[in-house]
Assembly symmetry: C2
Homo-oligomer: 299 residues x 2
């Protein structure tokens, strides 16, 4: 089953206690596409500037990612500069340059409009709605967001949430959106707004999935040497949606397994800078870690 | 298998978003003893003043708890006054009156000195060491502590940790003691200090158990209507040690199940003020919630 993702592709300059990278490949759709490509074919819809390094484009192609929807326009590529404190306890954004991303107008290639799985990565809710106008009754629409949109376009975001099948967000986003620290209460509130399922990413505490009929909790993978957490949430989405695409199991159990794959891929992501760990994985490694994660919780 | 617990018994005045109680039965050993008494016989060693209500003493006795080690001395009982903010996100201590607890000198009744399971609840490390001098090669010593002792008697606490089989503490205590936010790193550091197992209570995020050979993660029970979180950690200890006493399974799997019982009993505890929920439970209710917790994580 194919996945279309619409989001950002950018160049990140990141400092962590373990090192620094400059202009490394990143962005919500960048992380998602490469991670999900371990599981299924991905169509990438995003925008970059003319300065976007050829090698990154080649990486996408080498991973079998369809880049016909990746617009290359005059100007500079989206850039983000961030800093993580000791123990990765806090993250600080030092600079955000929207550049060509500011004028992004997502256009899906004609034959992507029937893609069964659509991921609206973290972009302006207005653009997420624009994507939804272009797709033809997808099997499943997954949506993400960020605190910035909760603050600056809550109304637009609520419009998007109405149309999602699965809403994926972080605990801090949930708390801001629902104005409560009680995640179960918040999840039930979000289910009232439209989605069939809400998945809350809790970083080092794993993830929680709530639907009308099911509650599932999974811890984070414990044995992880964190190098760079950037993109962990998008890699989670990539593992989650990738496994839905691969196994096509839309039961509660299928979604539970997908959430576990999300945790697995998030854990791989943080072990290297940029996409270093998610770009060259073997399925055997992924399945081994999936089983190790499962062993962590059985009794 | 019998359990001896040494800790505090006190009277709590607690305000939460859902109400207020005054001079309600509490204390680390109070919560532990009542919770654990659902599973196994408990010997309680603590001190109260002459003002300690008879009804509380009767409650202990009705639960089959041996109170010969509960000293009743001239003076007022230990009192704690606390306040929880909206959503229980923060807790504030408004007043602590040590009263008779200040001069507490734990003495184990002669026939309790061979008890196979000994729980050193949160008291001064010096007193914890004094208890250990009185016991005769117990099968398992479980120890708890609090931030206060980490700050005021780190050296004494390190002496205690050396002698523990299982060290139980909260995430915030781990972070303060090991000076890291990385719980796995911290747990491994603590294992070097003496204990065979470290169990980290993560409140709404469940618990993590680490030994030389095993890592186990369990989420908190999700469907809980929190009324009063006071004593949740001690009830966790009660469920954990209670189930060890009841099932006598000292394998990794036995300890995993014990941690799950800990989560279950912690969840019951927070659903009522004081000991309201843990004092009248049926084993069928406990097992039902244990199974519900297990269902939360399987895939």
């Amino acid at each position: 089953m194919n996945i279309t993702v619409v989001g950002s592709v950018g160049l990140d300059t990141i400092t962590t206690p373990l090192g620094k990278v400059e202009d490394a490949l990143g962005g919500s759709a960048g992380h998602f596409a490469v991670t999900a490509s371990n599981f299924a074919p991905v169509h990438l819809v995003a925008v970059v500037g003319e300065d976007f390094p050829k090698e990154h484009l080649e990486l996408f192609k080498a991973r079998g990612i369809d880049v016909r929807g990746l617009q290359i326009v005059p100007g500079r590529t989206f850039r983000w500069t961030g800093y993580y404190s000791t123990d990765f306890h806090t993250r600080e954004t030092l600079e955000t340059q929207l550049n060509v991303f500011e004028g992004f107008d997502p256009v899906l290639p004609e034959d992507c409009r029937q893609t069964p799985l659509v991921f609206l990565a973290n972009i302006h809710p207005r653009l997420q709605l624009k994507v939804l106008e272009q797709v033809d009754r997808p099997r499943l629409v997954l949506g993400d967001t960020m605190n910035f949109w909760i603050e600056s376009d809550r109304e637009g975001l609520l419009e998007v949430i109405k149309k999602l099948d699965v809403f994926l967000l972080s605990d801090s986003e949930v708390e801001e959106l629902c104005e409560t620290h009680d995640l179960m209460k918040a999840a039930r509130q979000l289910l009232e707004m439209g989605p069939d399922r809400v998945i809350i990413k809790k970083g080092p505490h794993g993830a929680l999935m709530v639907s009308q009929t099911d509650v599932f909790s999974v811890p984070a993978f414990s044995d992880v040497k964190v190098v760079d957490p950037t993109g962990a949430g998008d890699s989670f989405a990539g593992g989650f949606f990738g496994s839905i695409a691969r196994y096509q199991d839309f039961t509660d159990l299928g979604f539970r397994r997908a959430v576990a794959f999300g945790c697995v891929m998030g854990a791989f992501n943080v072990e290297g800078f940029s996409l270093d760990r998610t770009r060259d994985l073997e399925m055997t490694e992924i399945l081994q870690r999936y089983e190790n994660l499962r062993q962590l919780t059985v009794y």
